[in-house]
């Protein structure tokens, strides 16, 4: 059964977009219990054939209208409206490229790895339908090393069945934090240099090979693969009116069943933690979004996984991390560890990032060790203001957001540390899963 019906198989108007009825409820992206979606036949049985309409001229492809009506936003951390990104690339003349960002360089985040491992075909479906919508001649899938075998196998099986309209290349991502930044991705594909570039043009104008390039997160494209089949009304049947759909959440830290969960946007944070087996220990705070995320205090009743609910707390859904900090741990010490890791992960290109993040993390480490006086806090706050917005990419900005939220949420702990005390029973313990972590 064809998912989308395009009578003349050419550029068609959005009004002729016909979708098949979609499955109700959750999960959408991930397999149900006992289901194997790595197998192409099972995947096609579950979701139906890849709905291709044929390439459209410029930005007239009906999929873009469907994505816009669906209200899909980027799931890689930006939350940018996906249709606007598609349209910006589709509007450009000539051949374009689709880049699937499955780098997920945050050591603690697992949702794109889980998606690519459990549902690789849906990600590639999304990339192929996107390629039609933005008249791309090439798809490059850049993925974390741990998911490469699954993706390579999936691409090979699909090639045999001639499923994808344009060639799909699979590229191993570089192994460091900023490898997933979109201009670093383009630079990696073109030049083998996994570092961001500067300059006024964005990948939608000049990307891979100097051509307009659509860079989307793997989960975002998997949602596109579903919208292409089931339509925008189906997509909006879960989530909230202003933020439709589902989101993959990595639940970590002091939870009994850490892992990746799919939730409707607007699901209460307490519900997410309950799904992950509940807290193991008394939570004192939550890190939401990712390492570039925001600490929020333990008073989360009424807080939901949605932009609307998190914005008043200065937080956003980011890449979908929810990390529970138990009361045995110290929020300041954990933040110092994170800041030092992130300072070390600077691409080393921009002075304010290289020197500023090092100074910020040194200040936090001295604070964590209860060696800091009030002047350290004065300097720290000034550096946070000065470093923000002065890198070629948003790496320093992410650290600034994280540290600012820590100074806010752990204000009481800050006072204790300045007085030489610490409120945590085991500040040496960490729930961050940082690679090569040293003692703070």
């Amino acid at each position: 059964m064809t998912a989308l019906v395009a009578p003349d198989h050419g550029p068609v108007g959005a009004g002729r977009f016909v979708s098949r009825p979609g499955p109700a409820g959750l999960p959408r992206l991930l397999p149900a219990a006992g289901e194997n979606l790595v197998d192409l036949a099972s995947h096609l049985e579950r979701h139906g054939p890849l709905p291709l309409l044929g390439a459209a001229k410029r930005d007239t492809h009906p999929l873009i209208g469907a994505i816009e009506r669906a209200g899909l936003t980027g799931r890689g951390g930006s939350g940018f409206p996906t249709a606007r990104k598609f349209a910006a690339v589709a509007r450009q003349r000539g051949a374009t490229t689709v880049v699937v960002n499955a780098v997920e360089a945050e050591p603690v985040s697992a949702k794109d790895k889980a998606l690519c491992t459990l549902s690789p075909h849906l990600v590639i479906d999304g990339a192929s339908t996107a390629a039609e919508a933005v008249h791309a001649q090439r798809i490059v899938l850049v993925a974390h090393a741990s998911v490469l075998p699954t993706l390579i196998e999936a691409v090979a099986v699909r090639r045999v069945s001639a499923i994808d309209p344009v060639p799909v290349e699979v590229v191993a991502a570089a192994d460091h934090f900023v490898a997933g930044e979109e201009r670093a991705l383009v630079n990696w594909i073109d030049n083998g240099r996994s570092i961001p570039t500067a300059g006024p043009s964005r990948p939608y104008e000049r990307g891979v090979g100097g051509r307009p390039t659509l860079v989307n997160n793997a989960e975002t494209l998997a949602h596109v693969g579903l919208i292409a089949r089931y339509g925008d009304a189906w997509f909006r049947s879960l989530g909230t009116t202003s933020e439709p759909g589902t989101i993959l959440v990595t639940a970590r830290g002091a939870v009994r069943r850490p892992g990746v969960y799919e939730a409707s946007i607007g699901t209460a944070l307490t519900e997410v933690i309950r799904a992950a087996g509940g807290s193991s220990g008394t939570p004192i705070a939550f890190l939401v979004g990712g390492y570039f995320g925001t600490w929020i205090s333990q008073h989360v009743d009424g807080v939901a996984m949605s932009r609307e609910s998190l914005a008043p707390l200065g937080a956003n859904m980011g890449a979908g991390l929810v990390l529970v900090l138990p009361d045995a741990c110290c929020g300041l010490v954990e933040t110092a560890r994170l800041a030092r890791y992130l300072a070390g992960q600077s691409a080393g290109q921009c002075g304010p990032c290289v020197f500023g993040l090092r100074a910020i993390s040194d200040a936090l480490v001295s604070l964590a060790r209860r060696e800091a006086g009030p002047q350290v806090i004065v300097n720290l706050r000034r550096w946070l203001g000065e470093v923000e917005g002065r890198g070629a990419c948003a790496h320093p900005d992410g650290v600034v957001r994280l540290v600012r939220s820590a100074l806010d949420v752990f204000e009481g702990e800050l006072e204790r540390h300045l007085a030489g005390r610490c409120g945590a029973s085991h500040p040496e313990q960490s729930v961050l899963a940082l690679p090569a972590m040293r003692t703070v």
């Binding site: 500067a198 002075g351 304010p352 020197f355 500023g356 002065r390 070629a392």
Partner: protein, 93 residues
């Protein structure tokens, strides 16, 4: 040392085409932009154009996005021309 660069900088009036050369007379908005990758923190921009450039604790320029007042455009151009790493730019805002 840096002062002598300023003197030579004023002779290096940029004749490159672009927003900077047209915007000064035409009244269009011109803003400063630092390419943070190219910038080495030599600090010459802050020496030549202290009105709108300050330095952070490590010697890298801090600018804001406000338009350059017409009377300062000449000084801004001299600072851009004197930047040894070509990191200091004047853009149409």
């Amino acid at each position: 040392m840096v002062r002598s660069k300023e003197a030579s900088g004023s002779n290096l009036n940029p004749d490159r085409p672009g927003p900077a050369s047209t915007a000064g007379s035409g009244g269009r908005r011109i803003v400063l932009r630092v390419d943070p990758i190219a910038c080495d923190g030599r600090g010459i921009c802050a020496e030549l154009f202290p009105e709108m450039v300050s330095l952070d604790d490590w010697g890298f320029p801090i600018i804001d996005g406000s338009p350059i007042p017409p009377r300062l455009v000449g000084a801004a151009k001299r600072a851009a021309a004197a930047c040894p790493t070509l990191a200091f730019h004047l853009d149409a805002g």
